[in-house]
Amino acid sequence: MAASPEKPLRLVGDDAGATAAIAPAPDEELTLDELLRVDAWGRSEAVRALARTLYEPVYRHWLRAEWEGLEHVPLEGGALLIANHGGAIPSDAPVVMHGIETELLRPVYGLAENLFRQLPVLGTLWSRAGGVPAHPDNAYRLLHDDGQLVLVFPEGTKATGKLVRDRYQLRRFGRGGFVEIAMRAGVPIVPMAIVGNEEAMPILWKSARIAKLLGLPYFPITANQFVYGPVLGYVLPLPAKFRIRVLPPITFDVEPGLPRYNRGMVMEQAERIRSLVQTEVDDLLRDRRSVWRG
């Protein structure tokens, strides 16, 4: 009648759980079904591969991303990658995801505001490309159960909604939720300092009234719009030179798996990491001779 229940099961959680390296393109032909297959998080390796192919020229020749300290990103096991955030529609997330996936052949899941998820097509694409709604349960499961790399920008939209005059002044690192998740999951935090993201799409002016009307966290007028026009000015980044400095992983000397951690300790650690990243960002800016040439 139906599929024989006795036949061995392929438990899907298993193949999604392993810290799968990104397989180089296999030689044999994939069927349509295999190609469209998504993992437990809605991420599709086929969509990622396509995105990497399309983004490679932007990454390599337009933003010319350069890494230091990439060896600090662990090659296996869960780790929480955090960085400073900037630009109206930030380029830092795709640059970091692209860089780590192509250099280290490890998938990166980007936790983000779930604004996108409500939009048809875009929301689905965002999810296929490795975007996951920023819910603490999602972060914990990705880090602890699945042992994956998770990218988070603790400042959130407070950072991307900054005016150009406030660039590279790091905002509060939320309520320290990222520290608590890393403690609970028992994984290291790998901080990164990024420059170039702010100038790739600077905000010249923003309207709180229109933002409220549209239900958006901010409504910006970007410098890009004066170059590319009103619509493409929200899509195409300016050719700012990207530099990413990966700092040594930070581990916490606490027992993992607790439901709650000392608030004071969590906030203290969050602030410590914020000022660490701020120091490194300042250092990168000191060395930068030109926004465009680096």
Partner: protein, 344 residues
């Protein structure tokens, strides 16, 4: 073991009664429902009752059951209207819990079959709800509201009656050879509905695993709340490709209005809670029940594949006729001296 099954006339009530009859350690199975059993049963006693189960108290005392299996929670709002949903789910459970805790009751265990609908389906949900997770938005549809209310009733009951072990099981959407659900109806359509631009992550549980899970909770001491869903996830697009059906895209805005002509033309009735599933999907964590000793036979993708295989067979050989309960026939087989019962 003496067991009372509510909702004997539902697919699940009949199924689980049939499974319990096979077990030698079960001395007695009594079933109540407003409708007649849907499967042939050999030693289950059947009592007709009204929907809110007002006679339960008397029955519990009279039959001295130690276990109550509450399968009569309705999660399919296309079958029962809003007001009756409340009557069946909330008032029914209320009467059941009252009867179980009444003076002179011998009930020591209650197993409830509820649904993962209690978590809802929203854009900012976690991807895998754990049993302790709360909804991100309040329930808006009648069926979700009633099941959330049942949840609260059960929570209070557990606090008030520590001597009675309560196992509350939240089942994901069910697919199988025989059961009819909103999802099985959609996947049988020549053109399967979807919401344009969305391809949600979903979970399914196989009908055999549903019966096995209920039997597991009945046979073992596993108090608490458990999600039951085939491990893993599948997207709606993958499920549609598995049954090889084309898709009809509903508009992403005014989706609720688009379902009205479909319902009026009797094409399909997609209730609002399923429409939001077609948009944002839902996943639940399945480890707790596995830790409680349950072994799934079907993952979520295997459930969909088994369903697709059953459909292919059905298209060739057709569906077998459904069982119809006939009181005189049942009475004959049960009571007549002409029937020879094998020893054992």
């Amino acid at each position: 073991m003496r067991i009372l099954v509510t909702g004997l006339g539902t697919f699940w009530g009949s199924r689980i009664a049939q499974a319990l009859e096979q077990q030698p350690e079960v001395d007695l199975v009594v079933g109540v429902d407003t409708r007649e059993p849907r499967l042939p049963l050999t030693r289950t006693e059947f009592v007709k009752a009204d929907a809110s189960y007002a006679i339960l108290r008397r029955m519990v005392r009279a039959t001295q059951v130690d276990t109550v299996l509450h399968t009569h929670l309705e999660a399919d709002s296309t079958r029962v209207s809003g007001r009756r949903l409340h009557e069946v789910n909330v008032i029914g459970t209320m009467n059941l819990l009252a009867a179980a805790a009444a003076e002179g009751s011998s009930v020591r265990k209650i197993v409830l079959k509820t649904s993962t609908l209690v978590y809802g389906s929203n854009f900012d949900d976690p991807y895998f709800f754990r049993e302790t997770a709360r909804r991100t938005h309040p329930a808006t549809t009648p069926v979700e509201r009633s099941l959330v209310e049942v949840d609260a009733l059960v929570r209070d009951f557990v606090d008030d009656h520590p001597e009675i072990a309560v196992t509350s099981m939240r089942f994901a959407n069910v697919l199988g050879d025989d059961v009819t659900t909103v999802f099985s109806r959609m996947l049988r359509m020549p053109i399967v509905p979807e919401v344009l631009g969305y391809d949600p992550r979903l979970q399914f549980v196989h009908e055999d695993d549903v019966t096995r899970a209920l039997a597991h909770a009945t046979a073992h001491e596993v108090p608490g709340t458990f999600n039951v869903a085939g491990p893993g996830i599948i997207t709606w697009g993958e499920a549609c490709r598995a049954v090889a059906r084309r898709r009809l895209a509903l508009p992403p805005v005014f989706t609720g209005a688009a379902r009205v002509p479909l319902r009026l033309a009797r094409v399909i009735d997609i209730p609002p809670e399923v429409l939001s599933l077609l948009r944002y999907g839902r996943g639940v964590d399945t480890t707790a029940f596995v830790d409680a000793g349950f072994e799934y036979r079907y993952t979520t993708p295997a459930t969909v594949e088994a369903f697709a295989q059953a459909r292919r067979l059905e298209r060739v050989v057709g569906t077998p006729p459904a069982y119809e309960y006939e009181r005189d026939v049942e009475a004959f087989f049960r009571n007549s001296r002409a029937v020879v019962h094998p020893e054992g």
